[in-house]
């Protein structure tokens, strides 16, 4: 047995075990699901950001991705479907000292919760939103979402999706987000760095993390988990500063990754204080 294990008195400690509720493990995520990797990147980012962990709150909505809040040792809330952002907004405004991170799915944040997203971005609420985009509603059996690519097969689009999906970074940018990035769960170091950067930066930050749902999306679209990861490696282009207009997710084109927006502007709280509680 290696020395570091002997020293720990045989009690095994994974470097992130202190951030996870071990009594809730194993988590519900299927073999090959990418949510666990994005979750782990998030925990690493929070841990290495230097932010006081007692001042961090994680908020999730409903869905497989939404289970994250229940698995972290941080203060956290598992809210109702689509309402992670309004809940996080309330937490932040009630106690502006807190660093609030929303971790949820594409369906939760952009279908039922879509209006909350655009208004939080417009107001520049100082929260960080991490969206696990697995291109469908994983938890409920793989229905088409607002992010499902055109032509994809899902339970509700058995002959192919006739709808065009949201370009999420463009939506975030257009609504007023101060920070916008997109990575895949294979680009773990970049994803972790982005989350860390977003957490310490004031303003509304949005990070999209593309992630496989092999059980529902992958299976219907003839993609094994490793095929999806190979696609993330071979059919993506890193282009920091790319125009949000060219960021649509379309199986006929390469997917563009990177940091697209990083601007400084007053947050909602700052403007509110200035107008309603001006210094004497």
């Amino acid at each position: 047995m290696a020395d570091h294990l002997k020293k720990a008195g045989n009690k095994q400690v994974h470097p992130l075990d202190d951030m996870v509720r071990r009594d809730r493990m194993p988590h519900i995520w299927c073999p090959g699901c990418g949510i666990g990797t994005v979750f782990s990147a998030c925990l690493t980012a929070i841990k290495s950001s230097g932010i006081d962990l007692d001042k961090v709150v994680m908020v999730s909505g409903i869905g497989c991705s939404g289970r994250a809040a229940g698995y972290t040792n941080l203060d956290s809330f598992h809210t109702t479907h689509g309402r992670a952002i309004p809940f996080a907004t309330g937490v932040k405004l009630a106690n502006p000292e807190l660093k609030v991170i929303v971790f949820s799915g594409d369906g939760d944040l952009f279908a039922i919760g879509g209006n909350h997203f655009i208004h939080a971005a417009r107001r520049n609420i100082d929260i960080t939103v991490v969206c696990v985009n697995n291109l469908n509603y994983g938890m409920t059996g793989g229905q088409a979402a607002a992010t499902t690519p055109e032509g994809s097969l899902t339970t509700t689009t058995p002959l192919g999706n006739p709808e065009r999906p949201f370009n999420l970074p463009l939506l975030a940018y257009a609504a007023g987000a101060a920070y916008v990035a997109r990575w895949t769960m294979l680009h773990i170091q970049d994803l972790t760095e982005s989350i860390k950067e977003a957490m310490v930066k004031p303003g509304f930050a949005f990070i999209e993390a593309l992630s496989p749902c092999p059980v529902n999306y992958g299976r219907r679209n003839k993609e094994k988990p490793l095929d999806t990861l190979t696609m993330y490696r071979d059919k993506t282009i890193i282009k920091n500063g790319a125009s949000p207009l060219e960021l649509d997710v379309d199986s006929r084109k390469s997917i563009i990754l990177g940091k697209f927006v990083d601007i400084q502007k007053p947050t909602f709280f700052e403007l509110y204080e200035k107008i309603y509680r001006p210094a004497e």
């Binding site: 290696a2 095994q12 994974h14 194993p26 073999p31 990418g34 990797t37 782990s40 773990i188 490793l226």
Partner: protein, 102 residues
């Protein structure tokens, strides 16, 4: 090592070495750590863990460079690596551990 040419200063470069620890029973057998390890240190074990999945096993302990990619890609917190002490002689294989714990 897979170099497209041998670097001129290959003798001077100190390649870090890592020790991999696997919590076999936490694994759900996705194989990501095995496929994406840049040094092909890991392999799918033929045995099953308590959950009924094939966990990874270390087949080339000496080749681990402690890049920690297996650790950060694992969705299950089931594998991690630490740096091997620099004074351990290069000829001694790094030890790797497989832990039984859920």
């Amino acid at each position: 090592m897979d170099f497209w040419r041998v670097p001129l200063d290959i003798d001077a470069i100190q390649v870090p070495r890592g020790i991999v620890t696997i919590f076999e029973d936490r694994c759900k057998g996705c194989g990501y750590c095995i496929t994406f390890c840049p040094r092909h240190v890991l392999n799918l074990a033929s045995r099953f863990n308590v959950k009924g999945y094939h966990p990874p096993e270390v087949i080339r302990a000496d080749d681990c460079v402690n890049c920690r990619f297996c650790e950060i890609i694992c969705p299950e917190f089931a594998i991690y690596s630490t740096e091997a002490s620099p004074d351990s002689p290069a000829s001694v294989p790094c030890s790797c551990d497989t832990i039984k714990e859920t």
